[in-house]
Amino acid sequence: MILNSLLGEQVRASFQRLQQEVEQWQDRAQSVDTYGVSGETFPAVNIGESAEAWHVYVFAAGVERESLQVSLQNNALLIEGQRKPLLNTEEQGQHYYRRERFSGAFRRSVQLPDRIDAEQITARYQDGVLTVTVAKDPSMRPRRIAVESA
């Protein structure tokens, strides 16, 4: 209490703020770093397989739609795009206070296995995630074989 009366409201507010910032600094240590943070590959990619197809998920928020390209050559899936920096240098009066997000052109390639159906590829960009689905070759898909009874 003595401390409270000695220290003014402003000083106490400063200490409270310091405490909050230390807690938020701990957030970082207790979280999992994600893509886009400098030094890491952008964009992050998940790859999986279902019975029917291969599925590639590309985590790339806010990419310009016109720049986004998906192509397939020799079973290598190539994903390209661009994310513009937020600021033009000409723009007056605005500056970066903090900058962690990736900007610029990116490309990632994923090598798919041999037996795919190159004619059946779909790509869909929603909520900043590009989902590419490549159908497996019909010979690789599970088939149910009817059992005949004699």
Binding site: T34, G93, Q94
Partner: protein, 129 residues
Amino acid sequence: MSQLMTPANHFPMSPLYRTDAPLYPPIDVLEDSEGVTLMVDMPGVDADRLTVQVSDQVLTLEGHMALNLPEDLKPHYVAVDRTHYLRRFTLSEELDSEAIEAKMQEGLLAVRIPRKAKYKARQVPIQFE
């Protein structure tokens, strides 16, 4: 669902694989004389699964990914293995936490926080004689 995909090479002892640890989304902060703009990467999150709230000058940005994964999906390579994003900031006294605006577009969250009127830059007219 907090687990997005089980990592193929799983190290159970690593803190990275604590499934309750959130993702730490990268941000840009742009400042101008009228206020600040935060840009936050949260791919996979739509506006319905996003929370932006201020309490005691602490701004909390939280989102949950919703991806339509096939039921029988077998992971082969997993860079993102969880769905919960969380980031917190303490706002400066200069910022008006009552007037925050947030917009979510293609997984990119934009939060605009204006300065309180008394902290805004004012042009002082100069009289030339």
